[in-house]
Symmetry: C2
Subunit: 459 residues, 2 copies
């Protein structure tokens, strides 16, 4: 009986502690990521940051300025006019105050809202860029990410051909500064519509532009079939004739002017652009090829474009698709503005993930800008001295890591430095007789140098 | 009758279009932000970026590397052990796949999960920094933001005093590089606990440390009252005696060694740190004051600290509170790891919003690094030539904006350049006889210079 009683007591005790434990303190939670989301390890993150820094520097050199907007906004604002795909993909939820909110799924809609809200605080023409994360519940199976970084740049408040040209020229400079040779395929939606009007197809313009936009994906045969359904056999052939115009910029321009019923403000715009392009590329003494191609088959799927549209291809890797696309639109902030005066603009977006993949493929990733020098830890008591020497190097512009764990076997410290991609290890972490012993991990030898010579060598 | 019929037809027509319009196309959506969220206008965004760039450069110069993690994770992971405040404040929702997810509310929990997941891909000691947005549904009335940027830096996988010191020295260097003189108040929780054990209060340690942590907010009287409740009158006085120890680092250290029952590994750690501090600050030839203060009243509220803890105050603006706090912890990734070997570390977090406010207050915001040169648009047809000249300046390291809208009244272009905070406007946007006419907006005069002299002048 006593034994039984003791057993009961033990059981109660075990249950009591088990309950307490389970309730207050999970023992183990499996570390895992949501599908479509990524961690960035240091090397990948350094590369990503170098890339955006490089791109930002080019934007800034053109006088473009950065902005930022919240990740979370009222769902009403982000959904705007709505639309099937967006509504299916957006992360939408009720916040703690029961507000209907969502995560931004692009940077265009927040920019429209931003311009409407801050119109009086901005000066126009307004040239801005915005690099930020966006979230889409895309089907992750298709190799798409649900969180990715977008990079948008626009000039708003100017209708001028100079603005169209600046965006095109900026795209080219951004990519040239990354060591990439590009072809920018340009077209004018207005001119395309003029041509469609001349064959009485204005009303079907949106559908036809969308069908043509898919040309590069689906091929000519499929496009022809679609166009036949939309516009009949004869017109489909005429449209193919229009979008297939080939030759130099001027030859193609002359051909599509002819097909669209003679010169027009739209053809005039393309002519001005051509003029600017020639000037800008001529001045480079043939160092770089003229990147501008007039391609009447470029239409862009999105409805809001009204003028010039463009896509950008890498000459060394065209199959990866357009890495920078955009165009001119008429009324950016209309939906969020009571003001009758509309704000038109021209803008573009770089696909950073695609660009990174291309740079990696071409072995042109921007140099990793890493810390390549370490001070070995021979005596942990001397960590103060090590920091003193390291700080001197840092002040001379040389990043320097101090190793924190003592290891008398110098080779182990060399190995961990090599694993981090370093080149130099300072062995004597103090100045002795004004000399420093430096290990060159690549040359696999030790050198004794003065502080000044260490600086010179590492730089 | 015919009139009436026509009227009915008109009514139907109006209703039909009104319905169609309302359904498909909202006419106007009020542009507004959620409470606690912010847009960043260009000037504010440039300042923010300069600040983080400056801080990042210091991290990188110490060999710290950046990482990134997703904004969205499984709620289970982010909530971890749970806890009242976190659960109330976290943005938690069901995603489109009905998964229970949440937005990260700090960078510590994702880092713990990251280390558990990538343990084998990292090399230890691992020195990382992470700058990223976090979201908390805080009461926005208190002037808190619901979206803000955190900046964390840690060394994990080293128990060494050298690691503690490096974090302290890094904090000091980060802030010195921003032109800020600081005092870093350091304490050791283990030593505090040793003292509590000596007066038989080990079991109430967590509550007492939390009560002491509030000292600077609530004042000594209130703290005394709280301590009396927790530990009785006599002990409360002893605790106040301990936390009020004043004097030089060494004097305070001797006093708290005495109060905690003699030397111990913990007092030894503080002694090593002091040794490193003296070396590092001595070497600066008295240029900067020794920033390290041993302050036994610093305890940090959070439970997970086990060793050194610290807070950082600006000497010119101490009342703004600690702008960089942290400490040593024992087992970072334990909750997400089946591995028995725990990873200890030491780390800290900079409050960027508070730091920005302080820099603004002290008129020490990092220089805005703006584009200060524009090319006026006298003839929009010459936009190609303007870009040619601008590109030459950009290649010489001078950011240059091209104005896009023609205005014969040069003064209007000067005004818009001034509004943008620019200094120079190039009036003749082409090289004529190799001369350029430059308007110095500050000096209010035009100067004719060669291209080379323009570069020199602007630089």
């Amino acid at each position: 009986m006593e034994l039984f009683g003791g057993y009961v007591f033990l059981r109660i005790l075990v249950i009591y502690y088990a309950l307490k434990y389970c309730k207050n303190m999970p023992v183990y939670i499996e570390p895992r990521l949501l599908k479509g989301f990524r961690d960035f390890l240091p090397n990948a993150e350094i590369i990503r940051r170098n890339l955006t820094e490089n791109i930002e520097n080019t934007f800034r050199s053109f006088g473009f300025v950065p902005i930022d907007t919240p990740a979370i906004e009222y769902a009403e604002i982000l959904l705007g006019k709505g639309g099937g795909e967006t509504e299916k993909q957006i992360y939408r939820f009720k916040d703690n105050g029961d507000r209907d909110v969502a995560l931004r799924f692009d940077l265009t809609v927040p920019f429209a809202r931003y311009v409407a809200l801050h119109r009086n605080e901005l000066s126009f023409p307004f040239k801005r860029y915005h690099i930020g994360k966006v979230w889409r519940g895309e089907n992750a199976q298709r190799g798409r990410y649900r969180e990715f970084t977008q990079c948008d740049f626009d000039i708003i408040g100017s209708d001028s051909a100079a603005a169209d040209f600046e965006i095109l020229f900026l795209i080219r400079t951004v990519l040239l500064n990354l060591g990439l040779d590009v072809s920018i395929h340009v077209n004018h939606r207005g001119l395309f519509n003029r041509f469609l009007a001349s064959i009485s197809l204005s009303e079907k313009s949106a559908d036809i532009l969308r069908a043509v936009d898919k040309l590069s994906k689906t091929g000519e045969e499929e496009t022809y079939k679609n166009l036949c359904e939309l516009a009949g056999d004869t017109n489909a052939k005429k449209i193919l004739d229009f979008i297939n115009a080939k030759g130099s910029f001027t030859e193609v321009l002359n051909r599509i002017i002819e097909l669209s019923g003679g010169t027009s403000p739209e053809s005039q715009r393309l002519l001005s652009l051509r003029d600017f392009m020639l000037k800008a590329c001529d001045s480079e003494d043939g160092k770089n090829t003229d990147p501008f191609i007039l391609n009447p088959s470029i239409t862009r799927g999105l409805d809001y474009y009204t003028g010039v549209v463009f896509e950008t291809f890498l000459n060394e890797l065209p199959d990866i698709g357009s890495i920078c696309s955009g165009g001119r639109y008429d009324n950016l902030a209309g939906l969020y503005s009571k003001d009758k005066e509309s704000i038109s603009g021209v803008g573009s977006s770089v696909g950073l993930d695609r660009l990174l993949a291309a740079l990696e493929n071409l072995n042109k990733l921007p140099a990793a800008n890493k810390c390549i020098t370490a001070i070995a830890c021979c005596d942990v008591e001397k960590s103060g001295d090590y920091q003193v020497l390291a700080q001197k190097l840092r002040l001379s512009g040389i990043p320097c890591e101090v190793f924190l764990e003592e290891d008398k076997q110098m080779v182990k410290q060399f190995i961990s430095a090599e694993k981090k991609g370093m080149r130099y290890v300072i062995i004597s972490g103090e100045l002795q007789n004004d000399k420093i012993t430096l290990r060159d991990l690549k040359a696999r030898k030790n050198i004794e140098l003065s502080f000044e010579d260490v600086i010179k060598r590492i730089k």
